[in-house]
C-alpha cells in the first residue's frame, strides 16, 4: 500500500475548506458554464436587441408608445429572462448532487452538513454576482450608446440609474440563491425548477385573478415583484420602494434557505 500509508497532513474540515471544495465543484461542471453563459447572453443579447428595435423604429412610434418608453427599462429587458437561467442554475447546484448520488460523498466529507449549504450559497452567490454585474453594465452602456443615435438615451448620473444597475446583479444573485434554497428543499431538479418557475412566473397571473382590491395589496409582496422594485426606475404606484422591495425579496430567500437548512440537518440523506 505504497502511497496510502504516507502521512500527508490531513486537516480538519472547516468552512473555508468547504468553500474551496464547493468552488471546485461549481466550476468543474459543464452545466454551470452553460447556465452562466445563458444568463449573460439573455441579459446582454435581449437588452441590446430591444435597444436596436427602439432606436430604428423611433421615428415611426406613436406618441403613446413613446410615452411608455424608458431607456433604462429597455436596455434591461433581458433581465426577466436571465433571472430564470440563474435561478435554474441555483436549483441545479444542489439537486445535481441528489440526482447523481454525489450528495452521499459530499455529506460523508462534511457530515455536519450545514457548512456544505453555506459553502454552496457563498460560492454560487459570489459567482452569480460576478457574472451579472459586468453583464448589467455592459448592456447598459451598449444599449445607451445605441439609443443615443436618436438622443433617447439616459445617463448613468441620472437619478436612480446607478441604484438600478447595482440592483440588477443583487436581484439576480438573490434569485439564484432562491433557486438553491428551493432545490435544497425539494431535492429534485424537476421539482425545484417547477417550484421556481411557479413562484416567479405563474403566481403573479394567479394573483391577478383575485378581486383587484385584494390583488393590489398582495401583488407588491410577491417575490418577483418585490425583488424587481430594486431595478425599476419608474415604479408603478402599487410597487414597494426599491430597497424595501429588495428587502422583502431577501426575506423570501432567507426563509427558503432556513427551511432548507433545517430539513438538511433533520432528514436522512
Amino acid at each position: 500500500m505504497e502511497s496510502v500509508g504516507i502521512p500527508l497532513g490531513v486537516q480538519p474540515v472547516t468552512q473555508r475548506r468547504v468553500v474551496r471544495s464547493e468552488w471546485t465543484k461549481l466550476i468543474s461542471l459543464r452545466s454551470t458554464r452553460w447556465a452562466l453563459a445563458a444568463t449573460l447572453l439573455l441579459a446582454v443579447g435581449i437588452g441590446v436587441l430591444a435597444c436596436i428595435v427602439f432606436e430604428t423604429r423611433w421615428a415611426h412610434l406613436s406618441a403613446h408608445d413613446r410615452a411608455d418608453f424608458h431607456p433604462l427599462s429597455v436596455s434591461l429587458a433581458g433581465i426577466n429572462f436571465a433571472q430564470l437561467a440563474i435561478g435554474v442554475l441555483g436549483v441545479l447546484v444542489i439537486t445535481g448532487e441528489y440526482s447523481t448520488g454525489m450528495i452521499r460523498s459530499t455529506l460523508a466529507a462534511v457530515p455536519r452538513r450545514l457548512p456544505m449549504l453555506w459553502g454552496k450559497a457563498v460560492v454560487f452567490g459570489a459567482t452569480a454576482f460576478a457574472v451579472s454585474l459586468p453583464a448589467t453594465f455592459i448592456v447598459f452602456f451598449v444599449g445607451q450608446a445605441i439609443l443615443s443615435g436618436e438622443h433617447i438615451n439616459i445617463a448613468l448620473g441620472h437619478a436612480g440609474v446607478f441604484r438600478a444597475l447595482i440592483g440588477v446583479p443583487l436581484f439576480l444573485t438573490a434569485m439564484g440563491l432562491f433557486g438553491l434554497g428551493l432545490g435544497a428543499i425539494v431535492r429534485s431538479t424537476a421539482g425545484g425548477i417547477a417550484a421556481l418557475a411557479g413562484i416567479v412566473f405563474v403566481l403573479p397571473p394567479i394573483i391577478g385573478l383575485l378581486p383587484t382590491s385584494v390583488a393590489n395589496s398582495i401583488d407588491p409582496y410577491l417575490p418577483s415583484n418585490a425583488g424587481g422594485a430594486v431595478w425599476t426606475i419608474t415604479p408603478d404606484p402599487g410597487t414597494l420602494a426599491p430597497w424595501a422591495g429588495f428587502g422583502v425579496f431577501c426575506a423570501y430567500v432567507a426563509v427558503a434557505m432556513a427551511i432548507a437548512a433545517v430539513l438538511l440537518v433533520r432528514r436522512d440523506a
Binding site: S3, L8, V13, T24, A109, P111
Partner: protein, 314 residues
C-alpha cells in the same frame, strides 16, 4: 473500530435494521454478508451518519462519525454503485473531496495513479464503466488516509485482474492495522479475503464469527455418488440419520455418512460405483444455511432469490 449497539432503523413501515449490535475490529478484514435487501447498505449509511438510527448508537473509533473533525481520515467509504456527479471528471471529483480536508492536487494525482485511472482522470465520470467507477470510488475512499475502510460491494463490475487487485489492497490495508469492513454477496470472495464475518438477514444479526469457524460449523457436508443402481444403493444406505437425495437418473447425494462407509456398503451389496465425491460445505453453503430462513422471498423451486428492498436500493 466500528461499534453498533442496539441499532434499529425503520423506513416507513419497513424495518431495515432491527436491534443490530456488532463490532468491527482493526487489523483484519471483516466481511459483511447478507442476502440482497438484508440491510447491509442501510447499516453502512447509518455508520456514516447519512441516515439517523431510530434507536441505538453507532460509533467509529469511539465517536459518532459526524463528531470527528476530519471524518474522511476516520472512515473512507465506497458506497453503493455511484456516489459521484456524472458530469464531473474523476480528477475534479477527487480534488473537491480532498479540499474539504486540506489536501491538494499532489494527493489526488497519487490516488489516481494508485487505482490506475491515469488515462481517463480528465474524462467525465458519466462515461466510465462500472469497473472504472469502482476504482474511482476506491480512490475516493482512500483519499484521506482513513483508519477505517468501508466498501460496499467493491468488486462489482471489476475484471479478474481488478478483483485480485482489490483483494490484495484489502489485505494490505488490514495488515497496516486499519479496520477493513467489506460487504459482498459473493461468499467465495469473502472466503478468500475476509478473516471475520458479520452475517445479517432481514436486518438482524445472524452470525458474528471467524471465517474458518463458519465453514467448519456448516453441517451440510455430503457425498455425491454416481451409480447405475442409484435406487438400490439408496435402499441399502437407508437409516434414520442418513439422508439420500436424487440428483438425476444415476446420481444421488448422501448426507449423514462418509464416503468410506458408502463405498463399503456398495461393495457388500455388489453395486458398481462410477463416482464417489465427498463435498465439503463451502462458505456458500454455510451462508445459505444461515440465511435460508431469513431470505424475504423464495422462488417456487425453493431457491432463495434476491429480495429487492429499501435497504439495498436506497
Amino acid at each position: 473500530m466500528i461499534e453498533l449497539g442496539g441499532v434499529t432503523k425503520t423506513y416507513g413501515k419497513k424495518t431495515a435494521v432491527r436491534d443490530l449490535s456488532f463490532t468491527v475490529r482493526p487489523g483484519m478484514v471483516t466481511g459483511f454478508l447478507g442476502p440482497n435487501g438484508s440491510g447491509k447498505s442501510t447499516t453502512m449509511r447509518l455508520i456514516l451518519g447519512l441516515d439517523a438510527p431510530d434507536a441505538g448508537e453507532v460509533t467509529v473509533n469511539g465517536k459518532r462519525y459526524r463528531d470527528h473533525r476530519a471524518p474522511l481520515h476516520q472512515v473512507g467509504a465506497l458506497l453503493e454503485a455511484s456516489s459521484i456527479h456524472t458530469g464531473r471528471s474523476a480528477y475534479d471529483h477527487l480534488l473537491a473531496m480532498a479540499q474539504t480536508h486540506g489536501l491538494g492536487r499532489e494527493r489526488v494525482e497519487g490516488m489516481i495513479e494508485l487505482v490506475g485511472l491515469g488515462e481517463v482522470a480528465r474524462k467525465r465520470a458519466g462515461t466510465f464503466s462500472l469497473g472504472m467507477r469502482q476504482r474511482l470510488g476506491i480512490a475516493s475512499a482512500l483519499l484521506a488516509d482513513p483508519r477505517v475502510v468501508m466498501l460496499d460491494e467493491p468488486i462489482n463490475g471489476l475484471d479478474p485482474e481488478g478483483i485480485l487487485w482489490v483483494r490484495k489492497l484489502l489485505r494490505g490495508l488490514a495488515a497496516e492495522g486499519r479496520t477493513v469492513f467489506v460487504s459482498s454477496h459473493l461468499m467465495s470472495e469473502m472466503a478468500l479475503t475476509a478473516d471475520h464475518l458479520v452475517v445479517i438477514g432481514q436486518g438482524e444479526l445472524i452470525a458474528d464469527v471467524g471465517v474458518r469457524e463458519m465453514i467448519s460449523g456448516a453441517s451440510q457436508s455430503s457425498v455425491r455418488v454416481r451409480t447405475p443402481h442409484a435406487a438400490r444403493l439408496g435402499e441399502v444406505l437407508a437409516a434414520s440419520d442418513v439422508r439420500v437425495r436424487s440428483l438425476g437418473t444415476d446420481v444421488i447425494e448422501v448426507q449423514g455418512i462418509d464416503s468410506e462407509e458408502i463405498g463399503l456398503a456398495a461393495h457388500v451389496s455388489g453395486i458398481v460405483l462410477y463416482e464417489l465425491t465427498p463435498r465439503q460445505a463451502s462458505l456458500e453453503d454455510a451462508f445459505m444455511e444461515l440465511t435460508g430462513e431469513s431470505v424475504e422471498f423464495h422462488a417456487s423451486d425453493g431457491e432463495p432469490v434476491a429480495a429487492a428492498s429499501i435497504g439495498n436500493g436506497a
